[in-house]
């Protein structure tokens, strides 16, 4: 559900660009804290003793590994989003991958991964509008990734993980479609009362595929990553 330019009014688009910048800024600052550790900086040497003043942040090896992993998740999400499957006569759907990314690398890293994929699609493939990138990031990286991660997290406490993944994935498509429809309706492009039910109806079906693909890809990704770790230890 990549919104092209023209569906959303310039004013709302600009507001959503601001919102997406705030989401990304917050996510990146969280990752920066998680991926780096503070080390003292030797500022000056006075005679025989060195005076340490201040600290600086250095990338930890765990942070480095997570960045490599985020790259693999971004690659997988990009590939999976190309796979349009038929859902109804004359209609197709494809994975959003927000819950997939959040389950594999966490909600904020997941939001950055989805945003990067959306930006690459917009820049190189004309998929999704330039001004609409803010709306697409809000719908898929905030609503479809961060918010649905917490649904997954809450359900996981009581239910088997695959059920939590399935439910959160389905909800992610439904909520992202709702958010997208509200933005289009508020822009005056089409009556909000017409676009919301139409979007929800088709995406309720697409969400089922999102759930199935997400479960499968989470297990494939985890098994291929662990296999890799064992290889390295040998």
């Amino acid at each position: 559900m990549h919104i092209p330019d023209g569906f959303i009014s310039p004013g709302l688009s600009a507001g959503l660009v601001g919102a997406s910048a705030a989401i990304l800024g917050y996510s990146i600052s969280r990752l920066r804290r998680a991926f780096t550790s503070k080390v003292p900086v030797r500022a000056m040497s006075t005679g025989m003793s060195t005076v340490t003043s201040g600290t600086r942040r250095v990338l930890t090896s765990a942070g480095e590994i997570t960045l490599y992993k985020m790259g693999m998740v971004a690659a997988l999400v990009f590939a999976a989003q190309m796979f349009n499957f038929p859902v109804d006569s004359g209609t197709s759907g494809h994975l959003i991958g927000g819950v997939l990314a959040a389950v594999l690398v966490g909600p904020f890293a997941g939001a950055v991964v989805i945003s990067v994929v959306l930006a690459v699609q917009m820049l190189f493939f004309a998929d999704g509008g330039v001004l609409a990138l803010g709306a697409n990031i809000v719908n898929m990286a905030l609503v479809g990734t961060v918010i649905c991660y917490y649904i997954y997290h809450a359900l996981k406490q009581k239910l088997p993980e695959w059920i939590a993944i399935a439910a959160a994935s389905w909800v992610s498509v439904f909520l992202a479609a709702f958010s997208c429809a509200v933005q289009i309706g508020l822009s005056g492009t089409i009556a909000i009362g017409a676009v919301i039910p139409a979007m929800l109806k088709i995406h309720a079906v697409i969400g089922v595929a999102e759930a199935l693909i997400t479960i499968a890809f989470v297990y494939v990704f985890r098994s291929l990553i662990t296999e890799n770790r064992q290889e390295q230890q040998e």
Partner: protein
């Protein structure tokens, strides 16, 4: 990560040959409700996930897809490389 990369490339190539070319959920709704013509088309390097100059089809889509996969991957790997380099060089002072 080699096996994972092979899996991602397999998904890309399969998608290139098997993906449905029907409009997606949003496009279908826009067509049905009659606001699809409000979408502005624009030029791009690889429009519609195809490589220009190549005949349309699976191979063109696969090459465009592999390019997209590599660009997405390298954003993060470049970030890791750059941060590592920065961490190392400054600590030698």
């Amino acid at each position: 990560m080699k096996k994972l990369m092979l899996f991602v490339l397999a998904v890309t190539v399969l998608a290139s040959f098997l993906a449905s070319s029907s409009p997606d959920g949003l496009e279908m709704v826009a067509e049905k409700l009659g606001f699809i013509e409000m979408a502005s088309d624009r030029a791009s390097v690889m429009p519609d996930y195809t490589v220009p100059l190549l005949p349309e089809g699976g191979i063109s889509a696969a090459l465009a897809g592999i390019a997209g996969v590599m660009i997405s991957l390298s954003v993060f790997w470049a970030a890791a490389f750059w941060l590592k380099l920065r961490s190392r060089t400054r600590s030698q002072h």
